[in-house]
């Protein structure tokens, strides 16, 4: 039945082209809602215990494959469904501003790609592996490529989209290689056969190859460089679904592999270590770079990288703990990682939606042009504050719950005295990440929404349409639910974690369910206390003299709004530490200390990821250099070419004579 709903969704795509321009969004909404609804029903059934079989078929390359929903797929489907519905609802308001400029076909293409992306992501997480997996994986890449290309007339958008396409195909190549290796040994390329492969062949090469392939999508360091390019280029709702959901399919693949290793303790330990270290590096790199960005969407993109790091830290701790035989550590880490996947999809969608609201009014994402937006876009400001608190992992919202679980796992690891060093690595990384995230997001929120406007465009901003607010309220509701009632939210997550770790271990769940119950009471008590203090304060102030005046300028009276702290100055202290991570591009000249009467200066600084130049530029330069030598062979004379052909034949002949070929 679910398969039919997906087919219907894909057929409805045709109707998108026929519908009038304004109503295309509703067709897409219908298709996505249908697919999501069916997915939710199917995943609830799957979480109930049984594996929901969708289809079985013979593929031409990899043999027998199937589409089925087990517990992990069900969780992924839930994540995809919620975020997709919110995204398509949001897209109406966002695309509306482009309806005049773009042709009907252009809009149709966009919505077709959106529906395709949703459907292909669903197929990815249901597929048993092999051909159907690779097919839907590729479909997902192409759909998202078309989605990024929405504003294709902008040069940087085309560049970013192409960059994305190339990076994804490098990753795809690794995946194909991995699956072929798997097929060669086991005769089938399903995820379930990885276990068999690990038993009979050297496991690490396959793991590393697939890890790179999945890591490319997930944005694991150093393969993260497509994220900060693609997200600013893509429309906000596309960024939301790509960052919130699509990169999780990479993590999904990694979890699938870890699931297969479950019985081999030693290997699980090694792989846990790889995942933990790459998670710590990814998280720290992402958060450092996030704190230094001055573009809203670039900052959010780097923060996605950081969150992938947090998820990987959780997974790594889970594997290490499980390998050491401590199921409590394993369960905590796994539940934390899975819950963080859910959480990140929620608050990151909200944040990108907020960024979209700002972009559609300000027509820029450079945060140093903004300031004081809270007065002009109050609802967006509240929504964004909510999501900011959630992503900073502050209690009592959902981000804290997942990090709490990971921390509990690590502290248990420390307390048990077995996995101390690995847990400590995780604790150091996670605490530093937690600290700098607060810096990054107070910077983002403070510079964009608070203070006074830094440019006159701000005053022209108005609140966005209601549908976009509704779209943002969907994730907000889930954030609140998970934050305030984590003891219920953890149940399905624990089911999935049990299915992955293969241990039917209700002890672990019983261990932290009471913790979460008390935490939820504490969270509610915290809100009540804050509200009470506020009410008491208001009551006390009723009889006092309350006046308003300008901000205290410390004796300086000629204050203007350009003197406020900008994003750049906010993170200046961190930049001194993080210098080795990035390359500065300076445009203009700063005011010199010796200039007593400075003339007007223009000064713009941007920080580029060092990996970007190392990985991206270096290859290009090498190609140029090699090409320069190769180009000497291209003389343009036919006799030279005939000589080359002759040399080639002689070489082949000689090699054959000596039996080398």
């Amino acid at each position: 039945m679910y398969l039919y709903s997906l087919l219907v969704a894909m057929l409805v795509v045709l109707a998108i082209f026929l519908a009038p321009k304004r109503h295309k969004v509703w067709v897409a909404t219908g298709a996505i809602s249908l697919a999501s609804l069916a997915a939710i029903v199917a995943s609830v059934v799957a979480l109930g215990g049984e594996v929901v079989k969708i289809a079985e078929f013979e593929t031409m390359f990899f043999g027998q494959e199937s589409l089925a929903i087990d517990k992990l797929s069900a969780l992924m489907l839930l994540i995809i469904s919620v975020a997709s519905v919110a995204t398509v609802l949001y897209s109406r308001g966002y695309v509306k501003g482009y309806l005049e400029r773009f042709t009907s076909v252009h809009i149709s293409m966009h919505y077709t790609a959106l529906v395709t992306l949703v459907v292909s992501m669903m197929l990815v997480v249901m597929s048993s592996g092999g051909f159907s997996f690779l097919f839907s994986w590729e479909l997902m890449t192409i759909a998202s490529f078309v989605l990024i290309l929405f504003e294709a007339e902008r040069h940087e958008v085309r560049r970013a989209a192409l960059n994305y396409l190339v990076m994804m195909h490098i990753g795809f190549l690794f995946l194909v290689a991995g699956f072929v290796m798997l097929f060669n040994v086991t005769g089938s390329a399903n995820f379930a056969d990885i276990q068999h492969y690990f038993a009979v062949a050297a496991p690490l090469p396959l793991f590393v190859i697939l890890f790179i392939g999945f890591g490319m999508k997930a944005g694991i360091f150093p393969m993260h460089i497509w994220l900060p390019e693609a997200h600013p280029a893509a429309p906000s709702h596309v960024s939301a679904i790509m960052s919130g959901v699509m990169i999780k399919t990479g993590v999904y693949g990694i979890i699938r592999m870890m699931q297969a290793i479950d019985h081999n303790r030693e290997l699980l330990f090694t792989i846990g270590l790889i995942v933990l270290i790459s998670g710590a590096v990814t998280g720290l790199w992402g958060v450092f770079l996030a704190a230094m960005q001055n573009d809203i969407k670039r900052l959010l993109a780097y923060s996605s990288i950081e969150n992938i790091g947090v998820i990987l830290i959780g997974l790594g701790i889970a594997a290490v703990g499980h390998a050491a035989g401590s199921s409590l550590v394993g369960m905590c880490g796994m539940c934390g990682a899975l819950l963080h996947m859910v959480n990140h999809s929620l608050f990151k969608s909200m944040l990108f939606f907020s960024a979209g609201n700002i972009y559609s009014k300000m027509h820029t994402t450079a945060m140093n042009e903004m300031g004081g937006l809270a007065k002009y876009m109050p609802v967006t400001a509240i929504m964004m504050l909510f999501a900011t608190v959630a992503i900073c992992a502050l209690p009592p919202l959902n981000g804290f719950v997942s990090e709490l679980l990971i921390y509990i796992g690590m502290f248990n690891g420390v307390g048990s005295g077995h996995e101390v060093l690995y847990s400590v690595t995780g604790i150091i990384a996670l605490s530093l990440i937690g600290g700098i995230v607060v810096l990054a997001f107070t910077k983002l929120y403070g510079v964009v929404f608070l203070g006074s406007p830094r440019s006159h465009h701000v005053a022209e901003c108005t609140e966005v349409d209601n549908l976009r607010i509704v779209a943002m309220a969907i994730p907000a509701a889930f954030i609140l639910m998970i934050g305030l009632a984590p003891q219920y939210a953890i149940r399905p997550i624990a089911l999935v974690a049990e299915a992955i770790t293969g241990s039917v271990n209700t002890i672990a769940v019983d261990h932290f369910a009471p913790t979460l119950r008390i935490f939820s009471y504490v969270g509610i008590a915290f809100l009540v206390v804050v509200a009470l203090i506020y009410i008491l304060k208001r009551r006390a102030q009723r009889s006092r003299v309350i006046t308003e005046g300008p901000t205290w300028g410390c004796g300086f009276t000629a204050v203007n709004t350009r003197m406020q702290y900008t994003g750049e100055s906010f993170s200046e202290g961190l930049e001194n530490i993080g210098k080795p991570l990035m390359k500065d591009f300076v445009d203009g000249r700063a005011v010199d200390k010796d200039e007593i009467f400075p003339l007007p200066h223009g000064y713009r600084i941007s920080h580029k990821d060092k990996v970007d130049s190392l990985l991206g530029r270096w290859w290009v330069e090498m190609m140029y250099r090699i090409n320069k030598y190769v180009m000497r062979l291209r003389t343009g004379r036919v006799n030279n070419y005939i000589t080359f052909a002759l040399i080639f034949f002689v070489v082949v002949l000689v090699l054959t004579l000596f039996g080398i070929l």
Partner: protein, 305 residues
């Protein structure tokens, strides 16, 4: 229940008296007679009865932030036991909640400072955000060291009576106490990281963030500051008393005197760090705490060094 109430009551007394001890120590060292012991409470009482001036730039966030600041500090405060007493609230993993509640209070005040649109307050906010971020690993490492010794992750369990600690660990626990006093210096905005008594806004961190607060709001921020100080002071005192005499009658005065006198002495005897050196200073403490954890781990392994 009675024990819990006694603990909370003692915590309040500790929180209220630390500042008094600090002032008295400073006065004695400077050769002054000093103010009344409870002068800071009278000051706050005065603030509580005042009206307020709000900047026209600010939004409602500015008015809620002090409530969040105080509320978060208060919630964290309720989790802290004094030596063998039971705290009012406790659950498995609460040490993480306390750390993040303190982060929340910092978050609220940073945003409030950004809300005024003042370059001075932005400056304070940026510095507070950076130092807060860098001190976070130190805090977590310190807590992890305690968790390592006691095998648990809630304050009540870590400092419960049943924990018998090896004599070997004395030095490590003293170092943990040192780290928590240092964290108190940093989070409380004290010399050598920050100077609350300076007259130049450019060099301040914590005080400059609340420049625009007056009346009840300012009072709330100061009360929250006492609570935060007492949290770190009591943890430090608990760590010390765990090796000497694990009893609240010993730990409570130790928290007041240890924290108060150390802050007073340091403020009287040394100058504030140059601002650019603060990051190095804080990172050193974080590194030290990682080292302490490692040493503690090795000692736990019974490796004879």
């Amino acid at each position: 229940m009675l024990v819990k109430l006694l603990n909370t009551l003692l915590m309040v007394v500790v929180a209220l008296s630390i500042t008094g001890v600090i002032h008295r120590t400073r006065a004695v060292l400077a050769g002054r007679r000093g103010t009344r012991f409870l002068q800071h409470i009278y000051n706050v009482n005065l603030l509580l009865r005042k009206g307020a001036v709000y900047s026209t730039t600010t939004t409602i966030l500015f008015r809620i932030a002090p409530c969040v600041y105080l509320g978060a500090a208060l919630m964290a405060f309720l989790f802290i036991p004094i030596a063998n007493l039971e705290p009012l609230l406790s659950f498995h993993g609460d040490i993480i909640l306390v750390a993040y509640l303190l982060a929340f209070s910092r978050f609220a005040l940073i945003l409030a400072a950004m809300d005024t649109g003042s370059s001075f307050e932005g400056m304070g906010a940026a510095r507070e955000a950076l130092y807060g971020a860098l001190v976070e690993p130190a805090l977590m490492m310190g807590l992890a060291t305690l968790a390592l010794f006691c095998g648990d992750s809630s304050f009540a369990e870590i400092f419960s009576e049943g924990q018998v600690l090896d004599v070997n660990l004395t030095v490590v626990l003293l170092l943990v106490a040192y780290i928590f006093v240092m964290i108190m210096f940093i989070e409380g905005g004290r010399v050598p990281v920050d100077d609350p008594k300076t007259h130049l806004e450019l060099t301040m961190i914590h005080e400059v963030m609340c420049l625009d607060y007056s009346g009840i709001d300012l009072a709330m921020i100061q009360i929250a500051g006492w609570l935060k100080n007492s949290i770190f002071a009591v943890i430090a005192a608990n760590a010390v008393s765990a090796v000497l005499c694990f009893h609240w009658e010993f730990a409570a005065p130790l928290a007041v005197l240890g924290a108060g006198i150390s802050v007073g002495v340091v403020e009287s005897l040394r100058a504030r760090n140059k601002l650019s050196r603060n990051t190095t200073y804080i990172l050193t403490i974080s590194a030290l705490s990682a080292l302490v954890l490692l040493v503690g781990f090795l000692l736990m392994q019974d490796i004879k060094i």
